[in-house]
Symmetry: C2
Subunit: 334 residues, 2 copies
């Protein structure tokens, strides 16, 4: 299996990401192609690499705050666009990048195109829960304006991912809403609810944001990309608030500081569970190729984890399943 890793455009230096890629490649049977500046990548490969890694030289970089459409058009020689072209040409099996999310979505649509019958791709987040198993949320940011039908397609793709990649049989679907009762929520939600009821999957109704990580009420949660993205960032904000307050509350208090020292293993375990490092990649589903978006702040460990997410998705052959349509698939996009 060959995976292309875009090492430019993340928040951390490319060297860090090359190292993370090499480590993941050596853990699995992966051939890696690094898209980026050869003068930066080469030294790391010759120092760390024990096998033949390749480089796809690029001349420009799409930055985090570049406007997506404009930058994809103006920078055809960027690691991001060149990397996706390599995927489109069949030279690699998957594309992984910690870059500008909007630009990855735009370039994926432009270079790879959509899978027939899926009007909009969706970004899938795989989140840890107190219940042990992970919960999937789709879409967490590819589409800011969705129709009810888009949400049904997210449900179908999330369901296929849960089954084919994570091995969950007959995954249940929930609709992210502000109450569990039917009839709660806005117009989009009302219409999506009716459509989801008729979908070829077990639809469990509405789910609320506060219960997802603690109770894990369903396997897959669907949402429009705006709300899904706010959800994700608000959870992150809640986690940061607790840890920040806790850190402050022990400051200057010797006994509490000793307590924190004794609990350091526990803190590390919790941090590990909630860490974006361990959950390095969010698959972009619905485009014609395996694309995994890593967190912009990805370090070596996180990017290695994103490469593994791509590896699992390729191995599961989810893309072929999506391309041929899954059971009961509604190809009437709109």
């Amino acid at each position: 299996m060959r995976i292309l890793l875009d090492v430019m455009g993340g928040d951390l230096p490319p060297q860090e990401l090359v190292r993370g890629g090499i480590a993941a490649a050596q853990r699995h049977d992966i051939d890696l192609v690094f898209a980026g500046d050869p003068s930066v990548i080469e030294p790391v490969i010759s120092k760390e690499g024990k096998r033949g890694f390749e480089i796809l030289p690029s001349r420009s970089v799409i930055r985090m705050d570049d406007p997506p459409v404009k930058s994809v058009r103006d920078k055809p020689d960027s690691s991001l666009v060149l990397g996706l072209r390599e995927l489109k040409a069949g030279e690699v099996d998957a594309f992984v990048s910690p870059g500008n999310t909007g630009a990855i979505v735009v370039a994926s649509l432009f270079v790879l195109g959509r899978i027939a019958g899926i009007p909009r791709p969706g970004i899938l987040a795989v989140l840890p829960t107190l219940a042990g198993k992970e919960i999937l949320v789709i879409d967490v940011g590819a589409n800011s304006d969705c129709t009810p039908k888009h949400l049904v397609h997210f449900a179908l793709m999330g369901s296929a991912y849960a089954r084919d990649v994570l091995g969950i049989e007959r995954p249940t679907i929930g609709l992210l809403n502000i109450g569990t009762e039917r009839g709660k929520g806005n117009r989009l939600i009302g219409k999506a609810f009716s459509l989801l009821e008729e979908g070829p999957f077990p639809f469990a109704g509405n789910v609320e944001a506060h219960s997802l990580l603690t109770d894990r009420p369903v396997d897959v949660v669907v949402s429009d990309g705006f709300v899904g993205n706010v959800f994700l960032k608000a959870v992150e904000g809640g986690v940061s608030a607790v840890t920040g307050l806790l850190r402050r509350s022990i400051r200057g208090r010797l006994i509490a500081m000793l307590g924190a020292l004794l609990m350091s293993g526990s803190f590390a375990r919790v941090k590990g569970t909630l860490s974006y490092r361990r959950r390095g990649g969010a698959p972009l589903l619905g485009v014609n190729g395996v694309v995994v978006i890593a967190h912009g702040r990805s370090d070596a460990e996180a990017i290695g984890s994103a490469v593994e997410v791509a590896h699992r998705e390729v191995r599961s052959d989810l893309l072929t399943r999506l391309r041929h349509g899954i059971e009961g698939w509604d190809t009437d996009g709109g």
Copy 2:
């Protein structure tokens, strides 16, 4: 000052809420009227009350899962509807209830009506931050479908509350979005951004959900009620996830458990800061009366805090300011 407290319809028994109300009334110069079942309220008052509390007898209760519009229509003798009528009649200065949020909004609109020039009321959440000062978010659940103009009115009302009730001079306004750059977000956000730029307040642009509680980038955050509600619940979910994981991670580990014991003061302080008990009330702004919605799970402490929120709002005379229109107020609702 007379405040009416609806003690039915919350998750906890009315007795608990009566006790909380009495404690708050005794801390401040508040006359309380309890709306509810006299046979339940009377014994608590005669046992705990040192002054003349009153009772507004009601015969039915609107429950948490009752459909708002139907229950308000079918239960005119409920503590919720009777209490709001008392406020409308000028018998009390404010109304506080831990009941069904949708029903409180519907009944407030029905009984009190809107303030002229404000097309939609908004629920204001007052949240603790790492930066010390609180941050305000409006709307967190009164309106699931908003127009850009509604968001401008939320900004005006939130700004007035920040200034008149909390004493913040020239409060800054932020728009809850999925990126800080202009142009991010959905159609509603795009139009609201342009309108907010022209508003009579310092508009600081977009703010993201993960930074609100840690960085407190602005004084007041505006959002449509659906997204604001998801935000609030997702933060709660993030907090629960950390505390739940931490609790689990020490289980059976003696050293970590000892550490947790030494840190118990710190945990209590953090819990206190983030607790809904201490932040018991969310004002419903834009209706023609002072209405405070308490958390459904409110206990005595929380309901006392909600009574204090109402007390501060009445004392600040915010309602008169809103009624007469604040500087630069746009009365063209829509």
